[in-house]
Symmetry: D2
Subunit: 336 residues, 4 copies
């Protein structure tokens, strides 16, 4: 931490700051500049920097160390690569997750999974718990849904991913699911993240609607610090003033995160745009921008989908898109 003093700060003010940070266990290095005196504070415990900001003569506090460590490239130079059975996530390979918003029935999952499996998809998604903005909407099949998706995935030799909503559901998810998703609204549910640090399955963390990249990496840090090193990040749009799209998909987050962190970065173009006809262009753009995977909503019969049918692709649309994505991956020297 660097403490920049005001232009005309007095020696008394400088000493007061020095003493304060020493009391907190820091070493203080004073460097007198032409305009400003700067006090470097090294080695103390984590403190609320606003405490110092309120001292007389202090102009600005500058944090130097990032809040995350294990998630940073400085900590681990090579990309994190996650292997589950014959599926690889991270590295040169781009992974594809597809499936409906919600698990509705065995037939729906079976038909959808068959279509996806036929084109080569290895990871099946589907929601079992759906807390909705209206208390009267369909709330998901619950554990029954998880049993269905597991059964279908096994039939087609696929992996399962589904969103876990609260700590009490973790044991149930461990039975049926291969990759546990944390939804955007739970990105700063620190208690849940902490518990997910103790499991031995990959965790996919969606970026919160109004969360910075730094906060997102800090959410990953919560899981990593518990011992679980298999974390996947997933961009799904941020909230801005623009009203023509549901959210603004922040694709520049991909190269930024790839530079700051070794963790794989996925994109969910279905939730970001909310409309089927925007999913294909944004999927192509995501791969071109360097993402490590995509989560795309596909439904065997979108007009009959219980939820989010409007953003679900038809299986044949998905198959066509999948071919395009492979070709784009090829251009940038990667494979899907």
């Amino acid at each position: 931490m660097l403490i920049v003093m005001e232009h005309g700060a007095t020696q008394e003010q400088i000493h007061a700051v020095e003493n304060f940070i020493r009391e907190q266990g820091f070493d203080a290095h004073i460097s007198q500049g032409e305009l400003h005196t700067i006090i470097g504070a090294v080695g103390g415990k984590i403190i609320d920097e606003r405490e110092i900001q309120l001292l007389d003569g202090v102009r600005e506090i500058i944090r130097i160390s990032t809040s995350y460590k294990l998630a940073s490239r400085a900590f681990q130079k090579e990309d994190t690569i996650i292997k589950i059975n014959d599926v690889t996530i991270g590295g040169n390979q781009i992974a594809m997750i597809a499936g409906p918003c919600t698990i509705e029935s065995y037939e729906q999952m079976d038909e959808t999974a068959k279509a996806l499996s036929d084109v080569g998809i290895k990871i099946l998604r589907g929601g079992a718990f759906k807390p909705r903005t209206s208390p009267y909407s369909f709330q998901g099949l619950g554990e029954e849904g998880l049993k269905i998706i597991r059964r279908v995935a096994d039939k087609y030799n696929m992996l399962v991913t589904s969103e876990v909503m609260q700590i009490s559901q973790i044991p149930m998810f461990m039975k049926y699911v291969d990759i546990l998703q944390v939804g955007a609204r739970n990105m700063q549910n620190f208690n849940l993240l902490k518990e997910l640090g103790f499991i031995n399955k990959p965790v996919l963390i969606k970026r919160g609607l109004a969360n910075t990249i730094e906060e997102w990496l800090m959410a990953a840090e919560y899981v990593l610090s518990g011992g679980n090193r298999e974390v996947i990040l997933c961009e799904r749009g941020i909230r801005t003033f623009e009203r023509a799209t549901r959210n603004t998909l922040d694709l520049s987050a991909i190269p930024v995160v790839k530079q700051l962190s070794h963790l794989p970065v996925f994109v969910d173009p279905s939730h970001a745009t909310g409309l089927r006809d925007k999913v294909a262009p944004m999927s192509r753009a995501s791969v071109a921008a360097g993402c490590d995977g995509l989560i795309i909503e596909v439904h065997n019969n979108p007009p009959k989908a219980v939820c989010d049918g409007a953003q679900s692709l038809y299986p044949e649309q998905f198959a066509k898109l999948y071919d395009d994505l492979k070709a784009i991956a090829n251009v940038i020297g990667r494979s899907i």
Copy 2:
């Protein structure tokens, strides 16, 4: 719901839309304008409007009914007034909640509460569970903390408010706390909100950092729809591009919400600004803008506070501010 068709929409397209909405149980009223045909859809079940948006020839879907009912002025014209013992929240009276960010010890709570009680404050705040951005930070005293705040509040004849983090904590909070707070990050934790609809104590819902006023009222609706009609809203700043303040306190939300809803609206200037010297001006502005209450962080010894000391007022600062607030309330014909 109104469905506006494209300028050159064909009769087939119009019929297709009409049929679709009739299938969903709506009545369809067609009105042919000069430029656009508009189809009014009345009486059906809740559907995902994007389903219709994707039909050929449809230009735009316009929702008419708000998503909330019980929270609206249309449902209840008079202000909701909540009475707990001798304290009144809502109506002409402006309520004051004060206390430290975190419950640290009996002594800290006792000293702070005494100072607050001396100037006439009737509601004491203090956090017992503090999920922090870093897993190594102080996480709160838990139930022990709730016992302390209850004991101290009883000594000074005060009410207690504290933040409940998850469903499993509700029974514990019911034992010690008079007003249960829902934090900004939990504003869309629908499972938690739903459970809070079944209790018989007031619930204070902080606005999420990136949530619209409509979403905030919808969160209130979740609690109201369970049968609990004692809901308090609390503005605490939204996330914008501005970096000079921690959050942007949205004071125009006060007159907007007062018009749309009968629920009392509070403001938390401490969390919004994050710095002690901004708390007083923003508190005064909140009262002048018409808020129904304030939550202000006060600590008996801010430099020694375990958390958020930088935004906590000294008891004597608070006493001075409190006098100003009473005078401003008086100007607009209200009392504190």
Copy 3:
């Protein structure tokens, strides 16, 4: 325009609204719904809808017609295609504009243009007027700069684009420049836009940092309504809460605008990201998302660039990127 009345609006209130809109020259169509009475107002002059919103019993005003007409797909179904000499902008072809931020000298422009021309670039960019945030920074070479870029472009048989800052500069730009750029800060300089409607050269309008897609199309409408039908739109990032990138490049604006409008949409990844190593991934993503052109900053010697060197590509980086972009265009059935 639709006027939605409150749930319990009285007949008097409904009549008052009806009379008001008739006085303004509208026809009024009343349709009594189960919950709400809706008054359709057709054919009047443009009025400030807030006038109606303040009438008693009015709940909401809904605009139906967009503010832009000439820019809309409803007005013109086929893509606008602009031809300048042997260069085509719009349609299946993706156009490339490249060059330095600022025109510094004949040598700089000549070296850069030669490198660009060698790989096949047909449109050269360079700024001559640079109003900077600091009054002491380099302000551009002015007309001298425009002479240089024209001379160099003619040597390599290229077109010239440069940013016009104010009305008084238009005649000068008409002498030297083939495509006149309007910068993001001038996107709502309506006087300038209006004048650009009277010239017979294409105008490229960058999206303002905080402007919605609708406002951006309205800016185009200003130029179109003067008679100049050769308008190009250019996305260059919007301002959001995210701080890790200079701006948030809104690539989902591409498919949205392509659906709403027939105008070509370009992307400027250099200004959006502000850093050289983010330019390539975002350029690839733009093409994959369906843009009609790119503007990329390239400098013969970025470390010596007078401005924005940090976001300028080296000529050899650009050549490599250009190959990738051609391959991606190919995947989606387009050509560069």
Copy 4:
């Protein structure tokens, strides 16, 4: 400027950075921390910090000096106080500007000014040039309007303020207007600001819709650096995700700017909220938050106003509000 090196930066990388900044004319002070080496760069010319950010081993660049000097409290400790005839702006006095959005006719201005003068208002506002989003809307009376407002103001012994749109209008405004306004869309029209630095009348700068407080102070710096020290700042709402209000009035900007700068800060609650019934609460809140002045739209006959009637107060509403504002000013020890 401080250059923070990566955790594992090599000695070669550190030397390369040192050499680079020395070449740019800076002194380099190296301080080896436990985790990071930090290089202080002092005394060089202004450079684009991204140049350094792209060097190998550099982690982050931290600017220390603010971009503005003359506008800062460090440069001038005491509040700027502007005196025009018998009117004082800044200091303990709170100034009031009122009048219609647009100058429509002598009668309209005379009636409005009389009502305002009767309650004690000394500064009259009114727009003469109105570039509107639609080219077909009323564009203002131009110089004729300025003559009217001057004549009316002289009759009632008032000052005149009006918005200047471009450099070429400055001489005309100097003839009729006492305080020249710069609109939100022109806040970064640096050429205009520079010219306004050379005049000898006060300039009021509205904050841009998407501009940070730092950028706003930098706009003031442009005027100040030309020699004109009479600059007034005016907050008028920023663009956020919230849709229930036209803009989000950022009242916390008031105490922030008062701390950073000695310039007076006004608030325009009429444009920020856009609706008459929100103007009074936000005006009261502005005074309570510590603003130095208000600009409020008042029209002798709002329903007949040519523009923005919906946000204009009736003279009698304004008179009532004015009394409230005086009482609130009194509470905080100021006077109107």
